[in-house]
């Protein structure tokens, strides 16, 4: 017997000892499991928010993200240029291909459309959607949406269409189920800059990932 069979038979034997053990796959049980998977019922939810955008902004700021808003996506580069210069940060970096068309150079920025490498200091991404409950970005990995862009650079900038803000993570999963059949290789939920509290339980921003996360809300 291989390890798999041994473990499975141990499980079976352990559970057969109790009356409550229900390992045997009766028809009724199989139907119950299948319908549970098909229905994927939700647990207790947070109270509904009146204003998703306001709720999202409030939560994101609480978790140390910076938030800016533009009425037109063409203004995103100017906002980013201002943000970087105020903090004396480098003005070159990389972006996802979908954002390559924004007027970066007009704003004095050097943003290249390619996945991030170790030495890139600014990474500009979009997001699949965002969650108001916790001020969280949901990122789906893919050829056009490399995961490294939000991970390696010290500054992560996410351009987010406010219409893609949903209330809860449950809503985010449903959006994913609707638009894709299955999750991509990596789904990353990001809630602010990387941090550690390992030394003396003191929260320090900027561990192995970005030191700062800037969210720019703009219709895309």
């Amino acid at each position: 017997m291989n390890a798999r069979d041994k473990i499975l038979s141990k499980i079976r034997n352990s559970q057969a000892r109790t009356a409550a053990g229900n390992v045997a796959g009766t028809v009724a049980q199989t139907e119950m499991r299948d319908s549970y998977l098909a229905l994927h019922p939700r647990g207790p939810l947070p109270p509904p928010l009146d204003n998703l955008v306001a709720g999202f902004k409030e939560r994101a700021i609480k978790l140390s993200s910076d938030v800016m808003e533009a009425s037109d996506s063409k203004d995103v580069p100017i906002l980013l240029a201002r943000y970087l210069s105020e903090r004396k940060l480098p003005v070159s970096g990389v972006c996802w291909p979908s954002l390559a068309g924004l007027p970066w150079s007009t704003a004095g920025l050097d943003i290249q459309s390619r996945p991030a490498k170790n030495q890139d200091l600014v990474g500009v991404t979009g997001a699949f959607c965002a969650i108001a409950e916790t001020g969280t970005l949901m990122m789906l990995s893919g050829p056009e949406t490399p995961a490294t862009t939000s991970l390696l650079p010290e500054t992560h900038v996410a351009v987010l269409d406010p219409r893609r803000i949903v209330a809860t993570m449950e809503d985010a999963w449903n959006l994913m189920r609707k638009e894709y059949k299955q999750p991509p290789r990596a789904v990353n939920f990001i809630s602010g800059p990387s941090r550690t509290a390992d030394i003396e339980q003191t929260v320090t921003l900027g561990a192995h990932g970005p030191y700062r996360v800037l969210l720019i809300l703009a219709p895309l």
């Binding site: 141990k10 109270p47 916790t134 192995h208």
Partner: protein, 468 residues
Amino acid sequence: MQNTSINFKRQVTIKLADVKLQGALSRLQTRFVEGRAAVIGEINDLQETRTAAAAIRDRVLNDLEYWLLHFEQQATARGAIVHWAETGADVNRIVAEIAARHGVRTAAKSKSMVSEECGLNDALELAGVEVMETDLGEYILQLAHEAPSHIVAPVVHKNMEEIADLFAEKHQLPRKTDIAELCREAREVLRPAFLNADMGISGGNFLLAETGSVLIVTNEGNGRLVTTLPRVHVAITGIEKIVPTLEDVTTLLRLLPRSATGQSITNYVSVLTGNKDSADHDGPEHFHIILLDNGRSSLLGSEMQEMLRCIRCGACMNHCPVYQNIGGHAYGWVYPGPMGSILTPLLGGLENAPDLPNASTLCGACAVVCPVKIPLPDLLRKLREKQMERGMKSRQETFMLKAWAWLALHPAIYAIATKIGVRLMRILGGKEKLLHHLPGARGWTDGRDFPAPAGMTFRELYKRGGHK
């Protein structure tokens, strides 16, 4: 990790006298206990959510074979390779084989308590693979050759000064004087390790049956790096970590970080499914998932099954008066605090950890904060009963308990015996009204005095009050 729980009592004495440790532990209380209290109320209906979380875990545990097989099928369909390991040694062997098959020379690792169970790092070093811990806390421990003392904050027992000394010595860089500088130094030292690693090793907070995914929660970003950059990713976790659906895991995620560190959500929640696609720019080419039993299956269907609901948040130890005073190392294995006092004897043998079920005041704080409603004090009590049944209590304790049981069944003799007892103790207590020694209870009176009784039993006083 070698189990040294047998030395518990000796360790306690040492830890109680350790001034630095006591300072570190009081910090844990303020940061984590107050942190949890500040955010747990954000949950709309906490009790309803805890009940739902416990039900999700029970659904899986009561039908574990089915959910494991469903997970395996989904994960395999997406290109992951699922391995099964009966023991920690089997995990080590499997990881070494994977490393050999893919020509792995260096591995970058994010925090995994299950890998601590196995003692994976030592085994990989023996197999010629250089392993780098990348979670800041675990990295510090690797440099210092120490074991974690908390499942969420592994280096809670060390202060900033000690870490600054350690970094200065090991990195050969000028000694840093604040926490942010230390963190930056670690980031700069470790970045090349991520970029050069052939293999990334992670744990798994949850396994999603619906999608065949491994979910990890992290704050530092190292978990994302080790699962994104290296060409091989190995995730190691326990067979009990399965959760049926994305909705179920969302319910658990509302509780886990709030209970653990007082965060509404961890910085990163990563759901990893299958290998890199040919068109992808990043992600591992090979994804291996190792499911470890190591005694877990034997708890199923037993009166201890509820322990397998545990989602490793650490709240029970943060709130435990015993842990708060002795820290994690005294417990002698990977898992400390109330959950460790139950898991260590269950997974490693009651005879190897005879003191742990007694390392609790049964104050009940752990059960109140546990997000999946594990009745920890009840389970501790059941373990104590098991010790009794197996005659593992000291002879003296057994004799005293038997004597008391006999007396309790004979009320008239009980009344006389207690009358004599309290009068004797009053005389022995003298003017101070304190007993410095109590025959048969040296362990108790060594550290404190026993207040002498007033000289009459409760029954006498009750009668005197005019009751019949």
